[in-house]
Structures are given as structure tokens and as C-alpha cells.
């Protein structure tokens, strides 16, 4: 090699070395131990990443999406969920009441299906449905309306359906102790019609004689009323007072002359019925009551004279849990007296059953006793209720349709819910004049 070639080669090597030195940074010397540590750290980080990925993949199924920056204290508790549910319910109520005409408007009522096998009559099913409409436009004003929808069978076994208006009234709260109202309302005469006759409250399938059709107690009447209550220490006094059209005296029906018709809402004379009830509750579970009603009941042209009727009733209601016998005892009793003025019916004999005159004093009542083992450990036993009722109706034997009737009813109720009941009852009937009509009942009653 000549000297010029050696110089050229040296120059090229220098240039190559300089170029290489300009392109690569200076390298750090790493020991084998450091390299192994780096490998371990890398492996640990890989595992952590895998673990985080796995947690993220599972997150939507187990936890709601929450901001990663949210503190742990903002995690929803069960209380928060309950609050939300309550707010949702209130919103639902608000939406419901916002619908036109739905502001405090409500349909309640009751229904029943009854099977009756009565001595002297074909066995039969009966049905009843009684919707109750409530409308409360303001806190003080309430409108009520109720109808009884049912099936009737007359003495010739002809059936028909019926829709009877039983309540159509408006009431206004004057103060804590007084409500005034008017319309067609359930007359507070005794307690039965006001409190106990719906099929999910009545503990037996039928009404006591004195409060049934042909009985001695007024039901609904047209007029005005005032009612209320006031506490007296630990006890309470309730009161009702009213003026209505009142009942009408039946004068031309040969089978019922002398009886009062409580289903005719019109008045046959200018005299109005005046009545009321005074109740006393010595303790919350017990109530005594006295009711009266005085009415002019004959048509204006009936023999040129007025005939008055004076109705009275006493009632008692006691419901008490008695721990020694493991249940609840209910004791109820009511007694009614009707004194209708003396009159001569069919005086000319044109109707074919007169002239007839009789003393028209009628009375009747019932006593009911029930026991429900509400404290029993057995669930089925807790839902049973055992009921006994005695009731009677005394109509003068000299009056059309007169008789002395007594009944003894035994029943077992099974409460499916607090407002749905299945009843089975047997009733022993004893009449002085007419044929006895023992009866077997099965009834399902429900409050809606």
C-alpha cells in the first residue's frame, strides 16, 4: 500500500467514526444486576395492568358508573335509594293528581258474592256491588256518592237488576268539632248502617232483622245534617243531628199497612223528620249511643189527621284485645223501638182489608259476639274469626205482616286480607206465626 492510500483510508475511517459519533448518544453502562431488576419491575407492571383491565371489565356489572374522581363518601347508600323511591312515588302521585278532574278524587266501595240455601226457598246465588265516589275539591269540602248495584228476585221468582242511589251528599268542615252537610245521606240511627253493614265489615253474611229490608231502622234520607265530636279528657263525645223528609207510612198495601217505608225519599206531608244520635266513648275501644227520630209519616189526606212516628235506638260496640285468651273480642248490641201513632187503615173497606186498627209499637235488635285468635302462632288460626249473633223482630201480631221472629246465627270467617273475607254461616230461625226459615250461607266480601 502506498502512503497516499494509507492517508485516504485513515481519513475515511476518521470521517466514519466522526459521523457515527455525531449520530449515537453516549451509552450508559448498566450492570447485569440492574438489568434483572428492570425485568422484574416490568413484569410487575404488566401484572398490575392486567389486573386493572380485569377490574375495568367487571366494573359495569357490579358497580354503577361513577366518576373516577368521586370520593368514596358519595357512594349511594340504601337510605339514598329509599329517598329516591319515595320521591318517585310522590312524583307519581303528583302526575296522577295533575290529570283533569283527578284532584283528590277516588273510587272505593265493596262487593260481595253470596250463596244462600234457605228453608222454603230455592237455593240461590246473589251478588252485590257498591261503588263509593269521593271528591274533595278543597280541604273543607267533600262530595260523596254511592250506589248499590244488585239482583232482586220477587215473590214470583222474577229477577231484575237494580241500581239504587244510597249516598249523594256534600259536607263542609266548619271547625274541628262541627261538619255541616246536606243531600242524601246515611242517617245516623244506631250504628249498623253507618258502620257495620258493608260485606267486608259485617261479620255475618246477612243483616240483622231490625236493620234489613222490612226492619225498623231508617237508612238513607234526604235532608241536612250537622255532626262532629269533642274530646272530654280521655273520653270522647260524638253527636249527630239532622232534619230530613223522613219515612212514609204504608197505608194501602194489605201485607204491610202500618209499616214505615224508609226507601221513599219524597215527603208526603209538610212535617219533617228530626233526629240525632249522641255517642259516648269512655275509652277508645268502647262506644255507647242513643238515637232518636221523630217524624210525621202519613200523607196529608190520610183520614184528616196527622200520624207521627217516634223511633229510638240504643247501641253498644266494644272491640278489645284480650291477651289471656290470645285474641280479639268484639261485642256489639243494638235495640230499636218504633212507636207509630194509632190509625185506621182502609177505613172504608174499599181496599179489601179494612177497616183495621191496631197498636203499632214495634221493636227488635241484635247482639253479636265474635272471637278472633289474632295472637295465635298458627297463621291460619290467626285469620279465623268465630261469630255468634242473636237477633229478633217483634211486629204486633194484629198488624198486617205481624210476627215475632228470633234468629240464632253461627258463623266462621276466614280473613284473606284485612278487607277480604270468606264467611260460612248457619242461621236458625224461629217465628211465632210464619214458617221458620233456617238458612245456610257462604259469602265472599271485599272492600275496594
Amino acid at each position: 500500500m502506498n502512503r497516499a492510500n494509507v492517508c485516504l483510508a485513515s481519513a475515511l475511517m476518521l470521517i466514519s467514526a466522526a459521523t457515527a459519533a455525531a449520530q449515537n448518544p453516549p451509552t450508559t453502562q448498566i450492570t447485569n444486576e440492574q438489568f434483572q431488576q428492570l425485568l422484574q419491575q416490568q413484569e410487575q407492571m404488566r401484572r398490575e395492568i392486567q389486573q386493572l383491565k380485569a377490574e375495568r371489565a367487571n366494573a359495569p356489572a357490579t358497580q354503577p358508573a361513577a366518576p373516577t374522581t368521586a370520593p368514596a363518601a358519595e357512594v349511594a347508600t340504601q337510605e339514598d335509594i329509599d329517598d329516591l323511591n319515595q320521591q318517585l312515588r310522590k312524583l307519581r302521585d303528583q302526575v296522577h293528581t295533575a290529570l283533569p278532574g283527578m284532584e283528590h278524587f277516588l273510587i272505593l266501595g265493596d262487593a260481595s258474592v253470596t250463596f244462600v240455601n234457605q228453608q222454603g226457598s230455592p237455593s240461590s246465588f246473589a251478588v252485590g256491588f257498591s261503588p263509593l265516589f269521593l271528591w274533595e275539591p278543597t280541604d273543607r269540602l267533600l262530595f260523596e256518592a254511592a250506589v248499590d248495584v244488585g239482583i232482586n228476585t220477587d215473590f214470583n221468582n222474577n229477577s231484575s237488576t237494580s241500581v239504587d242511589l244510597t249516598i249523594a251528599d256534600a259536607s263542609y268542615i266548619v271547625n274541628d268539632y262541627l261538619i255541616l252537610g246536606g243531600g242524601l245521606f246515611v242517617v245516623p240511627f244506631g250504628q249498623y248502617h253507618n258502620h257495620f253493614d258493608p260485606p267486608w265489615i259485617n261479620k255475618l253474611p246477612d243483616d240483622p232483622l231490625v236493620f234489613s229490608d222490612g226492619g225498623l231502622s231508617p237508612t238513607s234520607q234526604v235532608g241536612i245534617f250537622g255532626r262532629g265530636a269533642a274530646p272530654v279528657g280521655a273520653s270522647k263525645i260524638t253527636y249527630d243531628a239532622y232534619v230530613t223528609n223522613g219515612p212514609n207510612l204504608i197505608i194501602s198495601d194489605p201485607a204491610r199497612a202500618g209499616s214505615l217505608n224508609y226507601s221513599d225519599f219524597t215527603d208526603l206531608n209538610n212535617g219533617k223528620a228530626v233526629g240525632g244520635r249522641l255517642g259516648f266513648l269512655p275509652m277508645p275501644s268502647m262506644e255507647f249511643g242513643y238515637s232518636l227520630q221523630w217524624a210525621q209519616v202519613a200523607p196529608n189526606n190520610f183520614g184528616g189527621r196527622n200520624v207521627g212516628a217516634f223511633l229510638q235506638a240504643v247501641d253498644f260496640n266494644w272491640v278489645q284485645e284480650v291477651r289471656p285468651i290470645g285474641g280479639v273480642i268484639t261485642a256489639r248490641a243494638e235495640w230499636v223501638w218504633n212507636d207509630v201513632g194509632r190509625a185506621t187503615y182502609d177505613p172504608s173497606g174499599k181496599l179489601g182489608f179494612g177497616p183495621i186498627t191496631f197498636g203499632n209499637y214495634r221493636q227488635g235488635g241484635y247482639g253479636l259476639l265474635s272471637y278472633r285468635p289474632a295472637l295465635a302462632t298458627n297463621e291460619i288460626l290467626r285469620k279465623l274469626e268465630f261469630v255468634f249473633r242473636y237477633d229478633s223482630l217483634w211486629i204486633p201480631l194484629s198488624a198486617p205482616g205481624g210476627d215475632h221472629e228470633q234468629r240464632y246465627a253461627f258463623g266462621i270467617d276466614y280473613w284473606l286480607t284485612p278487607s277480604a273475607v270468606l264467611k260460612v254461616a248457619y242461621e236458625i230461625d224461629d217465628k211465632k206465626l210464619g214458617p221458620d226459615q233456617n238458612a245456610f250461607f257462604v259469602q265472599f266480601g271485599i272492600g275496594l
Binding site: R89, D93, H96, T97, E103, H104, F105, L106, L134, W135, E136, D139, R140, L142, E144, I173, V174, N175, D176, Y177, L178, I179, L180, G181, H195, W200, I201, G226, R227, G228, A229, A230, P231, V232, G233, A234, K236, Y239, D240, A241, Y242, V243, G271, V274, G275, G276, G279, P284, S285, E287, L292, W294, Q296, G308, N317, V319, W415, P418, S419, G447
Partner: protein
């Protein structure tokens, strides 16, 4: 007729007495007679159990909405001769209980 006249007089006098007794406005704007009695110390739950169960099985608060309970207790105030205070407490209990 004398009995009838007396009955009407008694009815009118009773209503006037009760109506004139109102002399105090409560926070809800309803008029109330000022009186102290043990009834006023009872809670809504107790009044609900005592007054309802005297005639029928008590129905659970969950059965109706707030506005429905408002109308129902108004109806029962009329039917069962509840005082205004009893009605308010029972209504509040039923509305809070569902």
C-alpha cells in the same frame, strides 16, 4: 208537636253552641276550640289503630297514595265522627307510612 218543637230547638241550640265554640286558628288555617285533653297527646299511629279497628280491620298505609288518603280520612271523619285533630294526625301518619 211539642216534642218535635223541642227537638228542633235542641238541634239548633246544639249546633250554635258547637259552631260558636270555634275561636282559635291552627297552623293549617282550620278553626279549633282551645282545650287541653289527653287526646291531643296521642300520636297518629295510635289514633289510627284505635279509631279504625273499632269497626273494621285496619288497612295498611301502603294501600293508597297521599292524595287518596287525604280524601279517605276526610270521608271517615264524617262517617266515624272524628275530630279535626284526630283526622290530621291519622292522615299524616298514613301519608308518612308508605
Amino acid at each position: 208537636m211539642l216534642l218535635k218543637a223541642n227537638a228542633i230547638l235542641l238541634l239548633g241550640a246544639s249546633l250554635m253552641l258547637v259552631g260558636c265554640g270555634a275561636n282559635h286558628k291552627n297552623p293549617e288555617g282550620e278553626t279549633a276550640i282551645q282545650s287541653s285533653n289527653s287526646q291531643s297527646h296521642k300520636a297518629g299511629a295510635q289514633l289510627w289503630a284505635e279509631n279504625c279497628s273499632r269497626c273494621h280491620n285496619i288497612r295498611p298505609p301502603q294501600g293508597f297514595s297521599d292524595s287518596q288518603w287525604q280524601a279517605i280520612t276526610h270521608h271517615m271523619r264524617l262517617r266515624a265522627n272524628l275530630t279535626g285533630e284526630e283526622t290530621r294526625k291519622i292522615t299524616e301518619f298514613l301519608q308518612a307510612g308508605h
